[in-house]
């Protein structure tokens, strides 16, 4: 079972103070970058499948130079090889253009299964897996958990709404975009990190993936950002100020008044 896992290098914006730069993106200089959280579950799933069924796990990311640490950490998590796909012309690629880059990479490396995370916290789009599968002409599914292999096919659950799931069977090769929580990503030991410290991570550029500059970056994208803005402040909640004690005291009063204390 050969598996390719596609990884995204994303800024951690969940608790950061964000600012807009130039009207079309956020200011990213001060943000910490890391592996997209959903993708961590995809790597773990790939490694667990390999441990059961044999085969090889390859990780790949279309990401700038700094992302090497993410690829190396993925090797420490149990991936067998990593590829770093980057070219200056990739800057500004939307989901479609990024999927095109990955599709060309994967076409040269036939595998049984492609795994991704369903969503990424930066674009919140959830589009890459489905686009990539369509470009590769393989079946796909999103929000996947409980993956099982049987007779050259794969069976899994897909998350629907309200706690409902659907059980689905799919032929291989195929692509699964996983849900968070489908496994428990392993702890990476210092020993595992040391073991992969000198492994080579090939860097592939535009021509290595058989594309031209017009097919990637802003030019190769299908959507363009017109404006980006922070929602105006002062909308929404009345903020209870003061020390934690004082705020808690006011909150207790409000809860009592509104039936929040039974």
């Amino acid at each position: 079972m050969d598996i390719i896992v596609c990884l995204k290098w994303t800024p951690d914006t969940s608790e950061a103070d964000l600012a807009i730069a130039g009207g079309k993106d956020i200011k990213k200089d001060d943000l910490d970058y890391d592996l997209n959280e959903w993708d961590r579950f995809a790597i773990e799933e790939a490694v667990q499948i390999k441990e059961k069924a044999g085969g090889k796990v390859t990780v790949v990311s279309v990401a700038p130079e700094e992302a090497e640490e993410m690829l190396r950490e993925s090797l420490a998590r149990g991936a067998d090889e990593a590829f770093h796909v980057w070219d200056e012309t990739f800057e500004g690629s939307d989901g479609f253009a990024t999927a095109r880059i990955l599709a060309n990479f994967i076409k040269e490396r036939p595998c049984d299964l492609v795994l991704t995370g369903t969503l990424a916290d930066d674009d919140c789009a959830g589009q890459l897996g489905g686009m990539l599968a369509a470009m590769l002409d393989i079946p796909s599914a999103t929000l996947v958990s409980k993956i099982e292999l049987a007779d050259g096919k794969i069976r899994f659950n897909r998350e629907l709404e309200g706690g409902l799931y659907e059980s689905v069977e799919m032929d291989l090769p195929g692509l699964l975009a996983v849900a968070t929580g489908l496994n428990e990503p392993r702890f990476v030991s210092i020993r595992a990190v040391r073991k992969v410290a000198n492994m080579e991570i090939p860097v592939l550029e535009l021509s290595d993936v058989g594309l031209e500059a017009s097919q990637v970056g802003a030019e190769g994208s299908r959507i363009a950002v017109e404006t980006m803005s922070l929602p105006p402040e002062g909308e929404g909640a009345e903020i209870l100020t003061g020390s934690a004690e004082e705020a808690a005291a006011r909150l207790a009063g409000i809860l009592k008044e509104k039936g929040g204390i039974a």
């Binding site: 589009q127 897996g129 489905g130 629907l160 428990e184 922070l230 808690a248 509104k258």
Partner: protein, 325 residues
Amino acid sequence: MKNVFVLAEHRKQHLRDTTWEALAAGRKAAAELGADLTCILLGSNTDGMAEILSKECGKVLVADDPGFETFNSEAFMKALPAILKDRGPFLLVMGNSNSVLDLAPGLSVVLDAALATDCFGLEVVDGKVTATRQMYSYKVNTTVSFKNADRIVLTLRAGAFPYTLSGAESGAREKVASPLGDGVLRKRFVGFVEAEQGDVDVASADIIVSIGRGIGDEPDMDVFQSLADSMGGVLACSRPIVDKNFLPKYHQVGTSGVEVKPKVYLALGISGAFQHVGGIKGSPLIVAVNKDARAPIFRVAQYGIVADVYDVVPALEEKIKELKG
């Protein structure tokens, strides 16, 4: 733009509300673009659903095939390009549901169309379509435009486009032959798996204390259970808490978990991603504690405290005990 198409979504032979929200957005766009509005229904034994649709939309395209019964994205991806092929430029809208999440990205590729997902705004300016969505932990609003204005696919955030059913139309129904052919699919629906039931029924609780990522990686769960107990409420959570196995799935509030309607919803360390907020819309009082003043939860809450939950919760429990005497 010649056509605005709305894809009807169904499950277990019933149209889903996302259909009506998509229709509301599609109607607005069609009026502003001067385009024809058409609903597309791909289903099995479609008569009942087609009749309901034709009361809300002036034109309904229907293709009937057993392969469409379970909203299998592969069947839809095969059929829709064949159905849309000779109908000219289009804007295709559908709800951003978990079923559509499987369909829209791949469909946009086979239709050679641009895609924007999870849009809460749809505008037409000088005949040009733009869509507004959120990025970066749902904290930033982004308006996007489309390079090829003749082929656009949009998925719409639940709740963003309110609708009322009028029943006033008597839409023309056009039956089209199913383009599925032999019906052999590489992905096959096996069955539904119903939600796991637990010892706590979050859906019917009047008072909910709900915890999220902000409680940290090694949380002291007793602190939160104790607060919930002091309020006479139950403990619930957002997705990351279930992912980390701190609470079972039946505690999870949100569109993929349980939808709740308590009198009071106290959100502790919950950022307020829309999937979570979608599950608490029915709560008359939402109160949030989060150390990030920009957390989206503060936009839906009536009261908020900007602080670390561990600084607030013990003090809050103490004050509540005092008030109870």
